[in-house]
Symmetry: C2
Subunit: 280 residues, 2 copies
Amino acid sequence: MLLEKINRIIQQKTSLLCVGLDIDIERIPSFLHKEVDPLFLFNREIIEATRDYAAAFKLNMAFYEVLGVPGWELLERTLAVLPRDVLIIADAKRGDVGHSSRKYAETYFQTYHFDAVTVSPYLGYDSLEPFLEYQDKGIFVLALTSNPGSMDFQYLTVDHTPLYVKVAEKVMEWNFLYGNCGLVVGGTHANEIGRLREMAPALPFLVPGIGAQGGNLEVAVRYATDDEGRSALFNASRSILYASDRADFAGTARERARQLRDQINLLLSIYKNLNFMDEN
Amino acid sequence: MLLEKINRIIQQKTSLLCVGLDIDIERIPSFLHKEVDPLFLFNREIIEATRDYAAAFKLNMAFYEVLGVPGWELLERTLAVLPRDVLIIADAKRGDVGHSSRKYAETYFQTYHFDAVTVSPYLGYDSLEPFLEYQDKGIFVLALTSNPGSMDFQYLTVDHTPLYVKVAEKVMEWNFLYGNCGLVVGGTHANEIGRLREMAPALPFLVPGIGAQGGNLEVAVRYATDDEGRSALFNASRSILYASDRADFAGTARERARQLRDQINLLLSIYKNLNFMDEN
């Protein structure tokens, strides 16, 4: 069960933070460029520095794919140094007709051993079925995203209901099978997040865009978590990874991750009347 | 301009056939397994055998990704032996928020030199903008797919209009910028294909599902092409690639490709009053 797995980790780590490993040669500290393997070195340092504060790590496949063959080697080596007590998410946003989706599911759950993968809903049930059949794994289905383009289709109204709500309804149905579904919900709009949380109390939310993309952390934490202040993971990538260009980049990343973890917990203590902070 | 490029190729090759290189170790002839590099060998033989009859080759990324690092090496080597007089399509169905989509666009148009890529519309304009900025390349946006799951969202009605038509309307807008857009339109339903073709006379269609997926070739060819019997590519993958398990697999694939090319041209001569057949 994806929800239980996530909430167990949240409890163990006292954290709802997801660290996004969006590796980018143009953004890592320039002094690393003289190293033999700067990208892996950077990932390894970031992972070591932030693992104490992370409930999850998310690898955005775009940043690995763009490197070609070395990018997939980097992915493999990065997966090998990730800790085992967190959720490992492939941010792949895949979705294809059945026999192709079967290969994508195999990629992320067998070739690589991710715990969960983000997927796109547009092709409907049989495009996600091959992922669902990995019952001990999980999918986060794109529902509402925080980018401007979300207005183009996600907000279109079907029977007085926005499309992103229709998507969430379907995902709730699919979740009845094996309990391994979640939603990707952008961290910007209070009303929309609250509506989705009310509709889907048993789905975990993956909330991107709270860092560099400018989402509102307060709104996101207040409305995306459940009454117990759980069932959601908040992702920050660039704001943690690229906080410093200097030799202390890992220390700075660690400090940023700790701050963000604590900010989330503080907001939970305010809005959900919880005492997460005491436990640290 | 994507449409002009496709129609020029169609004219030069007297073919609207796209051959889908869905490589699968479990489906290639078993005698190849004793070779050092059976997958590349298979791809190379299939390309050589079918290139005379193909206007395009389509590489479905799912089948390469699932192999891990060797899959991307296979992709690179396969791209290197593809002919230059056809359209090379990455069937990737990617789509992410802007800064991630920028990396995906770079992957397919710079790291690898595809002519076009399939993309998913769910995240809207800014998720596709990075692809569009490669003005001499092209995107095929998923509009209507031929799988059962297409009913889940694509047929939902927004202002008396199905979502897949709303998607097509947006793609027509985006095409005004640089003329490098097309649609993925499943080859099953005559009414829907005809409606899209009438709406979007200037968009090329990529029509999958006419082979093993059981789409109706007659309907697809009649309704997806324009009045001149062009502006569409019809993809077959498994029905060509895996037609024979024996030593003559390449010859059989060649024969299948020729037959399919001729069938399409025959249908064009019937429905569009064209004489493609005479030119061979």
